[in-house]
C-alpha cells in the first residue's frame, strides 16, 4: 500500500476518496440495540470480532489524523468492546437517559477507541472518525463532553477520572438510580501513578458508593519507558484491595475474563477494581508490548501493515462466527 496524505486544500469529501481504504465502513454485523442485548447477550466470539472492528477504526483514524495514541487505544480495545457491546446499559437513541450506565475514559488519551465504539453504535456518523484531531472537527484529541455525543465528561488530565466517577455515582445515588446505573471508569497505569486516583479510591469507600467499577488497563508502558523503569506502581490489585475495594486481576485481552469481571462487578454493591493485564498495541504484532509508540501516530507503512493484519484477523473471526452456532455467552 502507498502512503496517503490529506491535502488541506482539497475539500474533505475528495480527501476521503483519496484515502478510501482508510475510511471506516459500516460493520456488516452492526452492534445490537439495547433491547436485543438484554434479550440475548452477545457471545464472546462476537465481541472478539467487534474488538477487531474497533481496532481497525483506530488504525484508520490515526493514519489519517497523523496524530494520537494508537497503542494505548489498542490495549483498551477489548475492555471498551465488552462494555459498549455487552455490559453497558446505554442507548444511542436516548443518550441522556437518566438511568443509563456511565462510561468515563479516565485515560482520555485513548479517545480513538471510545470514538470508534460511539460511532459504530450510531452516536455520530462513522465518517466523523476521519476528523479526529483536525481543526473544526468534533473529535478532539481527548474526550470532550461539550463536543462529542456520548462522552459523559471531558478527560485527558490523568488522575481526575476516578474522582469524576465518584461524583457521578453520588449524583446517581441522590437521584435514587444507584441500584440500576453503574459507573465504569477505564484507567491507565499513568492514572495509578497520579495521587488523585487514590484520593478518589479513598472517597469511594468512605461515601459507600456501591456502583463504581474501575478497570485498570495495565499495559506497563508509558511515554518514557516501562512503568517498572519510570515509576513502578507494583501490585495495583493489592493496592485497591488495601483501600477497601473488591479487586481482581484478569487478562485484559481474554474477552471471557473481561466480560465476567465486568458483569460480576455490578452485582457487588461496593467499589470494584478490575486490574486488566494488557499489552500496548494489542492486535498489531509490530507494536504489541513494544516501547516507543506512545503518543505517536503510525507511519504509513506501519498503518498499512497493521490494517492488513487486523483485516486478516477480522476475516478469520467473521468466518469463525459463520461456522459456529454460538452458545458461549
Amino acid at each position: 500500500m502507498t502512503a496517503h496524505t490529506l491535502d488541506p486544500l482539497v475539500p474533505p469529501a475528495a480527501n476521503l476518496a483519496a484515502v478510501r481504504h482508510l475510511t471506516p465502513v459500516p460493520d456488516p454485523k452492526p452492534p445490537p440495540k439495547l433491547a436485543e442485548r438484554e434479550e440475548a447477550k452477545p457471545r464472546i466470539t462476537e465481541l472478539e470480532r467487534w474488538a477487531t472492528v474497533l481496532r481497525i477504526d483506530c488504525v484508520r483514524m490515526l493514519a489519517v489524523a497523523k496524530s494520537g495514541h494508537l497503542d494505548s487505544s489498542l490495549s483498551a480495545a477489548d475492555i471498551v468492546t465488552a462494555l459498549y457491546y455487552r455490559v453497558l446499559r446505554h442507548d444511542p437513541e436516548k443518550p441522556s437517559w437518566p438511568a443509563r450506565d456511565r462510561f468515563v475514559l479516565c485515560k482520555g488519551h485513548a479517545a480513538p477507541i471510545q470514538y470508534a465504539a460511539l460511532a459504530q453504535h450510531g452516536y455520530f456518523p462513522l465518517e466523523d472518525l476521519m476528523g479526529l484531531r483536525q481543526i473544526g472537527a468534533q473529535l478532539q484529541g481527548h474526550p470532550d463532553m461539550r463536543r462529542t455525543p456520548g462522552v459523559e465528561v471531558s478527560t485527558g488530565s490523568l488522575g481526575q477520572g476516578l474522582s469524576m466517577c465518584v461524583g457521578i455515582a453520588l449524583a446517581l445515588r441522590l437521584d435514587g438510580l444507584d441500584e440500576t446505573a453503574q459507573v465504569f471508569g477505564v484507567l491507565s497505569d499513568g492514572d495509578c501513578q497520579e495521587g488523585q486516583t487514590w484520593e478518589a479510591a479513598t472517597a469511594a469507600i468512605h461515601f459507600g458508593v456501591p456502583n463504581i467499577t474501575a478497570v485498570v488497563d495495565y499495559n506497563h508502558l508509558q511515554t518514557d519507558g516501562t512503568t517498572e523503569e519510570v515509576m513502578d506502581i507494583g501490585d495495583v490489585r493489592a493496592k485497591f484491595e488495601a483501600f477497601g475495594w473488591d479487586a481482581v486481576a484478569i487478562d485484559g485481552h481474554d474477552m471471557g475474563q473481561v466480560v465476567e469481571a465486568l458483569e460480576r462487578s455490578r452485582t457487588l454493591r461496593k467499589p470494584a477494581a478490575i486490574v486488566a493485564e494488557t499489552k500496548k498495541g494489542k492486535g498489531v504484532s509490530a507494536m504489541e508490548g513494544r516501547f516507543g509508540f506512545h503518543g505517536k501516530p503510525p507511519p504509513p507503512e506501519l498503518a498499512a501493515e497493521a490494517l492488513e493484519e487486523l483485516m486478516a484477523t477480522l476475516d478469520e473471526q467473521t468466518k469463525g462466527l459463520a461456522g459456529a452456532d454460538g452458545g458461549d455467552s
Binding site: V153, Q160, A203
Partner: protein, 332 residues
C-alpha cells in the same frame, strides 16, 4: 425566606455559608463539598441541614473539584468550599479541565483569600487566585465587599449557568451595603460620587476605599469617587470608563497581587479605551507573612491610608485636559 441584613462587622464567608444553606432549602439539586474546612468556610451550615447532600472529602481538594465535575455533569449544582489557596492553587488543573473547560455549573466558594487570614502566613495567604481564575476561559470571578453582598452573590450564583469562582475572607469586616442588595447588577457599583479621582476597589478593600475617600475629602478637599467591583470577570467596563472620563485618574485597591488582578483588569479596559494614569494598591512581587490579619494588611499598605496616599501620588499625574472615552466591546 427573607434573608436578614447584617449591620455589625462580620466576615464575608458567613454571607456565603448562610446563603448556601438557604439555597439548599430551596433547591434540591444543590450539593456542597468541603475539604475538612467546613467550619472555616461556613459550608458547615449547609452540612448540618442537608447531611445527605454534603460531602466532606477530607484534605483532598483535587478530588473534591473533580467530584464536583462528576456531580454537575449529572445535573447537580455543586458548591465547593475550601481556602482560596487550595481551591485555585492546589486544584487548578481540576478546576481548569473539569469545571471551566466543561462549562459546568459548579460554584467554588474560596474562603480566606488574601493576607488578612493572618497568622498562618505565606503558605496559606492566597494572593494570586484572582489572576489564575481570571485567566481561565469561561470562569466568572466574584469578590463581594461585605456580608450582605456576599449573601446576594451566593444566592444569585444559583441563577447563573457559568462556572464561578467566589472569593471570601476570614476577618470580620465592616458593612458596606446597608441592606442585602437585590442583585449584583453589573458587578460594578458606584458607592460614592466624586469628580477628582476614582478609587476602584474589590472585596476587603472596598470599605477601606470609602474611608480613604472620606480622609481625602477632609484632609485634602479632594472629591473621590468610590467604585466597588464585585464581578472582576467579566468586567463591566461601562461604569468604570464613565468614571474615568469624569475624574481622569484612578487608584485600584485589592488584597491580591497587582499582577493579574483588579488592577490589570481595569488597566486593560482603560489602556484601549480611555488611557489615564491608574495607580494600584495591592501585593507587589512578594509573598505574605505571619501576623494578625490587620497587622498583615498594614504591613503591605492594604489600608485606607495606603489607598489615600496612593491617590495623592496619582493626583499629581492627573491630566489637565480630559476627553470622553471611546466605548467599545466589553473586556472579559
Amino acid at each position: 425566606m427573607a434573608p436578614e441584613a447584617k449591620t455589625d462587622p462580620i466576615a464575608t464567608r458567613h454571607g456565603y455559608g448562610d446563603a448556601l444553606a438557604d439555597l439548599g432549602e430551596r433547591h434540591e439539586e444543590v450539593v456542597a463539598l468541603d475539604a475538612d474546612l467546613a467550619v472555616s468556610t461556613q459550608a458547615i451550615k449547609f452540612g448540618k441541614r442537608f447531611p445527605e447532600r454534603f460531602f466532606n472529602v477530607g484534605a483532598a481538594e483535587a478530588n473534591m473539584m473533580s467530584m464536583a465535575c462528576g456531580l454537575a455533569a449529572s445535573g447537580k449544582v455543586p458548591y465547593c468550599s475550601t481556602f482560596a489557596i487550595f481551591a485555585a492553587g492546589r486544584a487548578y488543573d481540576q478546576v481548569r479541565l473539569g469545571i471551566a473547560h466543561n462549562e459546568l455549573k459548579v460554584r467554588i466558594g474560596a474562603s480566606h483569600g488574601g493576607v488578612s487570614l493572618g497568622e498562618d502566613g505565606a503558605s496559606h495567604q492566597m494572593i494570586e487566585d484572582v489572576a489564575l481564575m481570571r485567566a481561565l476561559p469561561r470562569m466568572t470571578v466574584v469578590i463581594p465587599a461585605d456580608y450582605n453582598q456576599a449573601y446576594r452573590a451566593t444566592a444569585e450564583s444559583y441563577e447563573r449557568d457559568e462556572p464561578m469562582y467566589m472569593r471570601f475572607g476570614r476577618p470580620a469586616t465592616p458593612i458596606v451595603y446597608e441592606e442585602i442588595p437585590e442583585s449584583l447588577g453589573t458587578g460594578v457599583d458606584v458607592l460614592r460620587e466624586g469628580k477628582d479621582i476614582t478609587l476602584i476597589a474589590t472585596g476587603h478593600m472596598v470599605w477601606r476605599a470609602i474611608e480613604a475617600a472620606e480622609s481625602l475629602e477632609t484632609e485634602d478637599g479632594v472629591e473621590a469617587e468610590v467604585v466597588n467591583v464585585s464581578i472582576v470577570k467579566p468586567l463591566h467596563s461601562e461604569t468604570i470608563l464613565e468614571s474615568l472620563s469624569k475624574t481622569g485618574v484612578a487608584v485600584t485597591a485589592e488584597e491580591h497581587r497587582v499582577v493579574g488582578g483588579l488592577a490589570d483588569a481595569v488597566r486593560q479596559v482603560a489602556a484601549e479605551q480611555h488611557p489615564v494614569p491608574i495607580f494600584a494598591v495591592g501585593m507587589g512581587d512578594e509573598f505574605g507573612v505571619s501576623g494578625t490579619g490587620e497587622a498583615c494588611m498594614e504591613h503591605f499598605g492594604l489600608t485606607a491610608r495606603g489607598i489615600a496616599d496612593r491617590a495623592r501620588e496619582a493626583l499629581v499625574l492627573k491630566p489637565i485636559v480630559s476627553r470622553p472615552p471611546l466605548f467599545g466591546p466589553e473586556w472579559t
